[in-house]
Symmetry: C2
Subunit: 182 residues, 2 copies
Protein backbone atom coordinates (compact mmCIF):
# COMPACT_ATOMS: atom_id res chain seq x y z
CA UNK A 1 0.00 0.00 0.00
CA UNK A 2 1.51 3.13 1.32
CA UNK A 3 5.19 3.93 1.55
CA UNK A 4 5.96 2.13 4.72
CA UNK A 5 9.01 3.84 6.10
CA UNK A 6 9.67 2.91 9.70
CA UNK A 7 11.36 6.23 10.35
CA UNK A 8 8.01 7.93 9.75
CA UNK A 9 6.45 6.00 12.59
CA UNK A 10 9.37 6.61 14.88
CA UNK A 11 9.15 10.34 14.33
CA UNK A 12 5.38 10.39 14.58
CA UNK A 13 5.62 8.38 17.78
CA UNK A 14 8.03 10.86 19.31
CA UNK A 15 5.88 13.77 18.18
CA UNK A 16 2.84 12.12 19.75
CA UNK A 17 4.53 12.66 23.11
CA UNK A 18 5.77 16.21 22.56
CA UNK A 19 6.62 18.81 19.95
CA UNK A 20 10.21 18.54 18.82
CA UNK A 21 12.81 19.91 16.41
CA UNK A 22 14.67 17.58 14.07
CA UNK A 23 17.73 17.98 16.20
CA UNK A 24 15.85 16.97 19.32
CA UNK A 25 14.40 13.96 17.55
CA UNK A 26 17.91 12.84 16.77
CA UNK A 27 18.84 13.27 20.42
CA UNK A 28 15.90 11.15 21.56
CA UNK A 29 17.02 8.44 19.19
CA UNK A 30 20.56 8.56 20.46
CA UNK A 31 19.40 8.17 24.04
CA UNK A 32 15.97 6.65 24.59
CA UNK A 33 15.71 4.60 21.42
CA UNK A 34 19.37 3.88 21.07
CA UNK A 35 19.40 0.25 22.09
CA UNK A 36 16.62 -0.83 19.74
CA UNK A 37 16.44 1.73 16.95
CA UNK A 38 18.69 4.23 15.23
CA UNK A 39 18.62 6.95 12.59
CA UNK A 40 20.81 9.71 11.21
CA UNK A 41 20.13 13.36 10.37
CA UNK A 42 20.23 12.40 6.73
CA UNK A 43 17.08 10.39 7.17
CA UNK A 44 15.34 12.49 9.81
CA UNK A 45 15.19 15.85 8.04
CA UNK A 46 13.90 14.55 4.72
CA UNK A 47 11.37 12.40 6.57
CA UNK A 48 10.12 15.45 8.48
CA UNK A 49 9.59 17.44 5.28
CA UNK A 50 7.80 14.48 3.81
CA UNK A 51 5.51 14.09 6.83
CA UNK A 52 4.54 17.76 6.63
CA UNK A 53 3.83 17.41 2.92
CA UNK A 54 1.57 14.46 3.59
CA UNK A 55 -0.27 16.34 6.32
CA UNK A 56 0.83 13.97 9.07
CA UNK A 57 2.89 16.62 10.87
CA UNK A 58 3.01 20.40 10.94
CA UNK A 59 5.92 22.76 11.19
CA UNK A 60 6.24 26.12 12.92
CA UNK A 61 9.06 28.53 13.39
CA UNK A 62 10.47 28.52 16.88
CA UNK A 63 13.59 30.62 16.39
CA UNK A 64 15.09 31.91 19.64
CA UNK A 65 17.59 34.77 19.81
CA UNK A 66 18.32 34.44 16.15
CA UNK A 67 18.99 30.73 16.43
CA UNK A 68 17.38 28.72 13.71
CA UNK A 69 14.69 26.37 14.95
CA UNK A 70 11.80 24.51 13.37
CA UNK A 71 9.36 22.86 15.73
CA UNK A 72 7.28 19.95 14.51
CA UNK A 73 3.94 18.72 15.83
CA UNK A 74 1.83 15.72 14.98
CA UNK A 75 -1.53 16.40 13.29
CA UNK A 76 -4.78 14.55 13.83
CA UNK A 77 -4.18 12.66 10.62
CA UNK A 78 -0.73 11.81 11.85
CA UNK A 79 -2.15 10.40 15.05
CA UNK A 80 -4.58 8.30 13.07
CA UNK A 81 -1.82 7.07 10.80
CA UNK A 82 0.33 6.12 13.78
CA UNK A 83 -2.52 4.38 15.58
CA UNK A 84 -3.27 2.27 12.55
CA UNK A 85 0.29 1.10 12.36
CA UNK A 86 0.36 0.33 16.06
CA UNK A 87 -2.56 -2.02 15.53
CA UNK A 88 -0.95 -4.27 12.97
CA UNK A 89 1.47 -6.91 14.29
CA UNK A 90 5.19 -6.19 14.12
CA UNK A 91 6.62 -8.21 11.31
CA UNK A 92 10.29 -7.54 11.40
CA UNK A 93 12.47 -7.85 14.46
CA UNK A 94 16.05 -8.02 13.48
CA UNK A 95 19.48 -8.11 14.95
CA UNK A 96 22.70 -7.36 13.10
CA UNK A 97 25.46 -8.23 15.43
CA UNK A 98 28.83 -7.88 13.84
CA UNK A 99 30.40 -9.23 17.00
CA UNK A 100 28.46 -12.46 16.59
CA UNK A 101 29.41 -12.64 12.95
CA UNK A 102 33.09 -12.34 13.75
CA UNK A 103 32.71 -14.98 16.39
CA UNK A 104 30.88 -17.33 14.08
CA UNK A 105 33.90 -17.42 11.84
CA UNK A 106 36.25 -17.22 14.79
CA UNK A 107 38.12 -20.45 14.07
CA UNK A 108 39.83 -18.63 11.22
CA UNK A 109 41.48 -16.23 13.61
CA UNK A 110 41.78 -18.23 16.81
CA UNK A 111 40.61 -18.05 20.40
CA UNK A 112 42.66 -15.04 21.47
CA UNK A 113 41.15 -12.96 18.72
CA UNK A 114 37.67 -14.14 19.57
CA UNK A 115 38.16 -13.29 23.22
CA UNK A 116 39.22 -9.78 22.36
CA UNK A 117 36.01 -9.30 20.38
CA UNK A 118 34.02 -10.52 23.34
CA UNK A 119 35.93 -8.22 25.67
CA UNK A 120 35.19 -5.21 23.51
CA UNK A 121 31.52 -6.14 23.38
CA UNK A 122 31.41 -6.68 27.12
CA UNK A 123 33.00 -3.32 27.82
CA UNK A 124 30.50 -1.55 25.66
CA UNK A 125 27.57 -3.27 27.32
CA UNK A 126 28.95 -2.69 30.81
CA UNK A 127 29.38 0.96 29.96
CA UNK A 128 25.81 1.38 28.82
CA UNK A 129 24.03 -0.75 31.40
CA UNK A 130 24.22 1.74 34.31
CA UNK A 131 22.44 4.33 32.19
CA UNK A 132 19.66 1.86 31.45
CA UNK A 133 19.35 0.84 35.08
CA UNK A 134 19.18 4.47 36.11
CA UNK A 135 16.51 5.20 33.56
CA UNK A 136 14.48 2.20 34.67
CA UNK A 137 14.61 3.34 38.28
CA UNK A 138 13.56 6.88 37.48
CA UNK A 139 10.68 5.60 35.40
CA UNK A 140 9.58 3.10 38.03
CA UNK A 141 9.46 5.88 40.61
CA UNK A 142 7.41 8.13 38.37
CA UNK A 143 5.27 5.52 36.73
CA UNK A 144 1.99 7.30 37.45
CA UNK A 145 3.10 10.80 36.53
CA UNK A 146 2.66 10.28 32.85
CA UNK A 147 0.89 7.69 30.76
CA UNK A 148 3.88 7.25 28.52
CA UNK A 149 6.20 6.24 31.37
CA UNK A 150 4.86 2.73 31.62
CA UNK A 151 5.57 2.02 27.98
CA UNK A 152 8.93 3.64 28.10
CA UNK A 153 9.77 1.52 31.12
CA UNK A 154 8.81 -1.58 29.18
CA UNK A 155 11.44 -0.95 26.57
CA UNK A 156 14.08 0.08 29.06
CA UNK A 157 13.39 -3.09 31.03
CA UNK A 158 13.92 -5.00 27.82
CA UNK A 159 17.29 -3.34 27.45
CA UNK A 160 18.31 -4.13 31.02
CA UNK A 161 17.19 -7.74 30.70
CA UNK A 162 18.99 -8.37 27.45
CA UNK A 163 22.12 -6.51 28.46
CA UNK A 164 22.41 -8.63 31.57
CA UNK A 165 21.97 -11.74 29.46
CA UNK A 166 24.71 -10.49 27.15
CA UNK A 167 27.09 -10.08 30.08
CA UNK A 168 26.36 -13.58 31.37
CA UNK A 169 26.99 -14.91 27.91
CA UNK A 170 30.31 -13.04 27.70
CA UNK A 171 31.57 -14.82 30.78
CA UNK A 172 30.43 -18.22 29.61
CA UNK A 173 31.81 -17.67 26.15
CA UNK A 174 35.21 -16.69 27.45
CA UNK A 175 35.25 -19.70 29.73
CA UNK A 176 34.50 -21.96 26.79
CA UNK A 177 37.26 -20.41 24.73
CA UNK A 178 39.67 -20.40 27.64
CA UNK A 179 39.45 -24.15 28.08
CA UNK A 180 41.13 -24.63 24.75
CA UNK A 181 44.11 -22.58 25.79
CA UNK A 182 44.95 -24.67 28.81
Amino acid sequence: MAIEKKIDYVILGLLSHEDLTGYEIKKRMDTSLKYFWGASFGSIYPALSDLVERGLASKRNGAENGRNKLIYSITEEGKKYLKEWLQIPAERDELRYETLLKLFFGNEAGAAQAISHIDAFQERIEGELPFLIGAAETLRNNIDLDDTHKYYLLTVAFGVKTYRAYLEWCEEAKKLLGEENQ
Copy 2:
Protein backbone atom coordinates in the same frame (compact mmCIF):
# COMPACT_ATOMS: atom_id res chain seq x y z
CA MET B 1 39.24 2.14 2.00
CA ALA B 2 37.77 -0.87 0.36
CA ILE B 3 34.15 -1.52 -0.33
CA GLU B 4 33.14 -2.81 3.01
CA LYS B 5 30.07 -4.93 2.38
CA LYS B 6 29.25 -7.14 5.32
CA ILE B 7 27.61 -9.67 3.04
CA ASP B 8 31.02 -10.33 1.50
CA TYR B 9 32.42 -11.38 4.83
CA VAL B 10 29.42 -13.50 5.67
CA ILE B 11 29.74 -15.39 2.41
CA LEU B 12 33.50 -15.70 2.70
CA GLY B 13 33.08 -16.94 6.25
CA LEU B 14 30.66 -19.63 5.16
CA LEU B 15 32.93 -20.60 2.29
CA SER B 16 35.85 -20.86 4.68
CA HIS B 17 34.02 -23.79 6.28
CA GLU B 18 32.90 -25.55 3.11
CA ASP B 19 32.24 -25.12 -0.59
CA LEU B 20 28.69 -23.98 -1.25
CA THR B 21 26.24 -22.89 -3.93
CA GLY B 22 24.42 -19.59 -3.67
CA TYR B 23 21.28 -21.45 -2.78
CA GLU B 24 22.99 -23.29 0.04
CA ILE B 25 24.44 -20.06 1.36
CA LYS B 26 20.94 -18.68 1.58
CA LYS B 27 19.86 -21.79 3.48
CA ARG B 28 22.68 -21.41 5.97
CA MET B 29 21.63 -17.84 6.56
CA ASP B 30 18.05 -18.83 7.11
CA THR B 31 19.03 -21.41 9.67
CA SER B 32 22.40 -20.98 11.37
CA LEU B 33 22.76 -17.22 11.02
CA LYS B 34 19.08 -16.42 11.18
CA TYR B 35 18.94 -14.97 14.67
CA PHE B 36 21.78 -12.53 14.18
CA TRP B 37 22.15 -11.92 10.44
CA GLY B 38 20.02 -12.08 7.32
CA ALA B 39 20.28 -11.70 3.54
CA SER B 40 18.21 -12.31 0.44
CA PHE B 41 19.03 -13.95 -2.90
CA GLY B 42 19.06 -10.50 -4.42
CA SER B 43 22.15 -9.66 -2.44
CA ILE B 44 23.82 -13.08 -2.36
CA TYR B 45 24.12 -13.78 -6.08
CA PRO B 46 25.53 -10.41 -7.08
CA ALA B 47 27.93 -10.57 -4.13
CA LEU B 48 29.17 -13.99 -5.26
CA SER B 49 29.87 -12.74 -8.78
CA ASP B 50 31.66 -9.79 -7.30
CA LEU B 51 33.80 -11.95 -5.02
CA VAL B 52 34.87 -14.09 -7.97
CA GLU B 53 35.72 -10.99 -9.97
CA ARG B 54 37.87 -9.72 -7.14
CA GLY B 55 39.64 -13.06 -6.83
CA LEU B 56 38.36 -13.71 -3.33
CA ALA B 57 36.31 -16.72 -4.37
CA SER B 58 36.28 -19.12 -7.28
CA LYS B 59 33.40 -20.75 -9.10
CA ARG B 60 33.12 -24.18 -10.66
CA ASN B 61 30.33 -25.99 -12.37
CA GLY B 62 28.77 -28.69 -10.29
CA ALA B 63 25.74 -29.54 -12.39
CA GLU B 64 24.13 -32.85 -11.44
CA ASN B 65 21.72 -34.76 -13.69
CA GLY B 66 21.09 -31.69 -15.74
CA ARG B 67 20.36 -29.56 -12.69
CA ASN B 68 22.00 -26.20 -12.75
CA LYS B 69 24.59 -25.75 -10.00
CA LEU B 70 27.49 -23.41 -9.37
CA ILE B 71 29.77 -24.28 -6.51
CA TYR B 72 31.84 -21.57 -4.89
CA SER B 73 35.09 -21.90 -2.96
CA ILE B 74 37.16 -19.39 -1.05
CA THR B 75 40.60 -18.56 -2.48
CA GLU B 76 43.79 -17.89 -0.55
CA GLU B 77 43.28 -14.19 -1.10
CA GLY B 78 39.75 -14.57 0.16
CA LYS B 79 41.02 -16.21 3.33
CA LYS B 80 43.47 -13.40 3.85
CA TYR B 81 40.78 -10.79 3.26
CA LEU B 82 38.48 -12.49 5.76
CA LYS B 83 41.20 -12.86 8.37
CA GLU B 84 42.03 -9.19 8.16
CA TRP B 85 38.46 -8.24 8.80
CA LEU B 86 38.23 -10.66 11.71
CA GLN B 87 41.10 -8.84 13.32
CA ILE B 88 39.54 -5.40 13.42
CA PRO B 89 37.02 -4.75 16.20
CA ALA B 90 33.33 -5.00 15.39
CA GLU B 91 31.96 -1.52 15.13
CA ARG B 92 28.29 -1.95 14.52
CA ASP B 93 26.01 -4.10 16.61
CA GLU B 94 22.46 -3.16 15.99
CA LEU B 95 18.99 -4.20 16.83
CA ARG B 96 15.87 -3.14 14.97
CA TYR B 97 12.98 -4.37 17.01
CA GLU B 98 9.69 -3.29 15.60
CA THR B 99 7.97 -4.89 18.56
CA LEU B 100 9.86 -2.61 20.92
CA LEU B 101 9.07 0.37 18.76
CA LYS B 102 5.36 -0.35 18.85
CA LEU B 103 5.59 -0.79 22.59
CA PHE B 104 7.47 2.45 23.07
CA PHE B 105 4.53 4.32 21.62
CA GLY B 106 2.06 1.94 23.20
CA ASN B 107 0.17 4.55 25.20
CA GLU B 108 -1.39 5.68 21.93
CA ALA B 109 -3.09 2.34 21.47
CA GLY B 110 -3.55 1.09 25.01
CA ALA B 111 -2.53 -1.84 27.17
CA ALA B 112 -4.55 -4.53 25.37
CA GLN B 113 -2.90 -3.69 22.10
CA ALA B 114 0.53 -3.69 23.70
CA ILE B 115 -0.11 -7.07 25.28
CA SER B 116 -1.07 -8.58 21.96
CA HIS B 117 2.24 -7.38 20.48
CA ILE B 118 4.08 -8.98 23.36
CA ASP B 119 2.12 -12.20 22.92
CA ALA B 120 3.01 -12.40 19.24
CA PHE B 121 6.65 -11.77 20.05
CA GLN B 122 6.60 -14.37 22.79
CA GLU B 123 5.05 -16.99 20.53
CA ARG B 124 7.67 -16.44 17.90
CA ILE B 125 10.50 -16.72 20.40
CA GLU B 126 9.00 -19.78 22.05
CA GLY B 127 8.68 -21.38 18.65
CA GLU B 128 12.30 -20.80 17.75
CA LEU B 129 13.92 -21.53 21.08
CA PRO B 130 13.67 -25.36 20.93
CA PHE B 131 15.59 -25.34 17.66
CA LEU B 132 18.35 -23.29 19.23
CA ILE B 133 18.49 -25.49 22.30
CA GLY B 134 18.70 -28.58 20.12
CA ALA B 135 21.47 -27.07 18.05
CA ALA B 136 23.40 -26.12 21.18
CA GLU B 137 23.16 -29.65 22.52
CA THR B 138 24.31 -31.25 19.30
CA LEU B 139 27.23 -28.88 19.12
CA ARG B 140 28.19 -29.41 22.74
CA ASN B 141 28.26 -33.17 22.18
CA ASN B 142 30.45 -32.85 19.12
CA ILE B 143 32.59 -29.99 20.25
CA ASP B 144 35.87 -31.72 19.44
CA LEU B 145 34.87 -33.15 16.07
CA ASP B 146 35.44 -29.94 14.23
CA ASP B 147 37.24 -26.73 15.02
CA THR B 148 34.33 -24.64 13.84
CA HIS B 149 31.87 -26.22 16.31
CA LYS B 150 33.12 -24.26 19.27
CA TYR B 151 32.57 -20.95 17.54
CA TYR B 152 29.24 -21.98 16.20
CA LEU B 153 28.22 -23.02 19.70
CA LEU B 154 29.21 -19.60 20.97
CA THR B 155 26.70 -17.87 18.75
CA VAL B 156 23.98 -20.43 19.38
CA ALA B 157 24.53 -20.01 23.11
CA PHE B 158 24.08 -16.29 22.59
CA GLY B 159 20.76 -16.97 20.94
CA VAL B 160 19.59 -19.26 23.74
CA LYS B 161 20.66 -16.79 26.40
CA THR B 162 18.96 -13.81 24.83
CA TYR B 163 15.82 -15.69 23.85
CA ARG B 164 15.39 -16.83 27.44
CA ALA B 165 15.86 -13.25 28.58
CA TYR B 166 13.22 -12.16 26.07
CA LEU B 167 10.75 -14.66 27.47
CA GLU B 168 11.37 -13.52 31.03
CA TRP B 169 10.85 -9.97 29.91
CA CYS B 170 7.57 -10.89 28.17
CA GLU B 171 6.15 -12.18 31.45
CA GLU B 172 7.27 -9.17 33.42
CA ALA B 173 6.04 -6.78 30.78
CA LYS B 174 2.61 -8.35 30.69
CA LYS B 175 2.43 -8.25 34.45
CA LEU B 176 3.25 -4.55 34.44
CA LEU B 177 0.61 -3.85 31.84
CA GLY B 178 -1.94 -6.09 33.53
CA GLU B 179 -1.78 -4.11 36.78
CA GLU B 180 -3.36 -1.18 35.04
CA ASN B 181 -6.32 -3.23 33.93
CA GLN B 182 -7.30 -4.29 37.41
